[in-house]
């Protein structure tokens, strides 16, 4: 009973909570004692130079790799030992830095898989009915990320920007509570960046996200709180204004030339 109570209190307090998470790859310490909390519905940016440990942090949260030390809590539940698919079923979503789409399948099939991944019909040996809820969700998601007219296009035939949109569309399937976006604006044209910002700003208020982004313009416009990482550790936290004007951050991340 006491445990249930503490879990519910924790879930009210934090959507995502990392306690002393470390990850070593041999002699390399990619993440060093990282503790971080993100509230439900919060939009957080993670900045840092290449090799700062940002993507490794995401990999720890989604379970792609297990941490060497530390614990991870998602809405009050300790998910440190859960396999990736169990974390996804709890409302965690992610997009990848390098496109991880099914390039030989159509946009519809990619979105359909994303919609099906969090339902009970995953093992169905039947073809989906034309009016199945997952197929119509796939179509609605395509509309949401402006890919309706490319539904039957094979993913390898999409432009880079459209592939990034599709990544986000797939992350929105089901009932996401927290999305981890790994450099979604990388390689986008200025117009595609504007569209991406609009898309992220239009996400429902209860859907929080953590965004890794090298483009400060994108990161600081969509996030209300910023965490700066350096050498596998949390270096600084604050509002976009505080971070942008912080001389330490400018020194390590911006080379002191920004602003």
């Amino acid at each position: 009973m006491a445990e249930t109570l503490s879990i519910s209190q924790a879930s009210e307090a934090h959507a995502l909570s990392l306690e002393g998470v470390s990850r070593r790859f041999g002699a390399l310490v990619a993440l060093d004692q990282v503790s971080l909390t993100v509230e439900a519905g919060e939009r957080r940016a993670i900045l840092g130079a290449n090799g700062a440990g940002k993507t490794t942090l995401f990999n720890m949260v989604t379970g792609d790799f297990r941490p060497t030390a530390g614990r991870i809590w998602f809405f009050g539940e300790d998910i440190t030992a859960l396999p990736p698919h169990e974390r996804i079923r709890r409302g965690l979503r992610r997009t990848y830095q390098n496109s991880m789409l099914f390039r030989g399948l159509s946009v519809r099939d990619n979105l359909y898989l994303a919609a099906q991944g969090i339902t009970r019909g995953r093992y169905s040996l039947r073809r989906p009915r034309r009016d199945s809820s997952e197929l119509s969700l796939a179509e609605r998601l395509a509309g949401y990320v402006h890919l309706t007219q490319w539904l039957d296009t094979t993913v390898s035939d999409l432009s880079h920007g459209q592939q990034r949109q599709l990544e986000i569309g797939m992350a929105l399937a089901g009932a996401p509570r927290m999305i981890l976006l790994d450099e979604p604006a990388a390689g986008l044209s200025p117009k595609e960046r504007r569209d991406l910002i609009a898309l992220l700003q239009a996400l429902p208020a209860h859907v929080g996200f953590v965004i890794i982004e090298h483009d400060l313009d994108v990161a600081l416009r969509v996030a209300r709180f910023v965490t700066v990482m350096h050498n596998g550790q949390i270096f600084k936290e604050g509002t976009p204004d505080e971070i942008e004007n912080d001389p330490d951050v400018q020194a390590i991340y911006l080379g002191g030339h920004h602003g």
Partner: protein, 344 residues
């Protein structure tokens, strides 16, 4: 969440099952074929190719759609064959003598369970290691049946195995047996084609292409792979029962390493990209097996099939299906060029 309406979209493409005129023609040909040929062509070529095609189809399903190359598919077929012999009636009077309506479903269940366990063991590995672990299972089963006399009757195996006389028909007669094989092959083929666009099938192809991404969409990759082994196991088991009826006997030689490799050769010769490949490969294999003696000495069959295998894989890694695609692309290009030329 505000999501734009998609009601004006065209109908989803996923559930369609197009049947082209040439496919109907092939089906008709398969039905009338045994009426036009002697028994040898009905049984030794027709039925045998269909049966080997069914077993190879189980590998095509696993490898083509799931990216898992299992060498244990002939072994699964062998488990079903041995189960039919042990549960049913055989000439060694060692069978339990249970009726066919118990024996057949039970044999299918035992072989599917065996395939599921094989899957459970081998999905921990990938690539060459999957091939090695399934080969190890196949070799272990071969030695088990050869050395165990209490259950498997050792080196001798079982003889006197025949399909039960259901509906008063002698299903072992060439014509009924051809149609029985065609029926089972047709059902398995249609099931795999249908399943390839089912949720399970699309998920399996997603897992083949990017297992990490599938896990990040909520799919339990291991469970899906094991389920694929179970489904492929059921198909191989159906082929295994037909094969034991075709041969009338089963012995360790039926599940030896050379038979295990034959299935891989058939599937690769035909092409792993589509279920058709398994049957194309089986036809070529059976024709070579039967007529290699006319080309070269009987003992040299393995040389002939080896050269054929090398030639097909060398010229088309996608097997005969790949050659067919190349030929149709070339003919389209030629037709286009001719049209352009005439249009000048």
């Amino acid at each position: 969440m505000t999501i734009s309406s998609a009601s004006d979209l065209e109908q989803p493409r996923l559930p369609s099952l197009p049947v082209k005129p040439w496919q109907i023609l092939v089906l008709l040909l398969l039905i009338v074929y045994p009426l036009m040929v002697p028994d040898f062509w009905r049984l030794q070529v027709g039925a045998y190719a269909l049966i080997l095609g069914v077993i190879a189809l189980s590998l095509t399903f696993l490898a083509g759609y799931g990216g898992m190359v299992s060498l244990a598919q002939m072994t699964v077929a062998g488990v079903a064959g041995y189960a039919v012999a042990i549960f049913g009636v055989n000439s060694a009077a060692l069978g339990l003598g249970w009726p066919w309506w118990v024996t057949i479903p039970l044999s299918l269940a035992v072989a599917t369970l065996f395939a599921t366990l094989t899957g459970w063991l081998s999905v921990r590995t990938a690539g060459i290691y999957t091939i090695m672990i399934t080969l190890a299972i196949a070799v272990a089963f071969f030695y088990l049946v050869r050395q165990n006399y209490v259950i498997f009757n050792g080196f001798t195996g079982f003889a006197g195995l025949a399909p039960p006389p259901v509906f008063g028909l002698d299903w072992r007669a060439p014509l009924p047996f051809y149609y029985l094989s065609l029926g089972v092959a047709g059902i398995c083929f249609a099931a795999v084609v249908y399943m390839s666009r089912s949720t399970m099938g699309v998920a399996l192809q997603g897992i083949r292409d990017n297992p990490r991404r599938m896990a990040a969409l909520g799919f339990n990759v291991r469970a899906h792979r094991i389920a694929a082994y179970a489904l492929a196991g059921l198909i191989a088991a159906l082929g295994g029962i037909l094969l034991v009826w075709f041969n009338g006997r089963i012995s360790p030689g039926s599940v030896g390493v050379d038979r295990v490799i034959d299935i891989l050769v058939i599937a690769v010769i035909g092409g792993l990209r589509h279920p058709t490949g398994a049957f194309l490969g089986a036809i070529v294999f059976v024709l070579l097996e039967n007529f290699a003696i006319d080309l070269i000495d009987r003992e040299r069959f393995n040389t002939v099939i080896g050269i054929a295998f090398l030639a097909i894989v060398f010229f088309s890694p996608d097997g005969l299906l790949g050659l067919w695609d190349k030929a149709s692309r070339a003919s389209r290009t030629l037709a286009g060029a001719t049209k352009d030329w005439n249009g000048r």
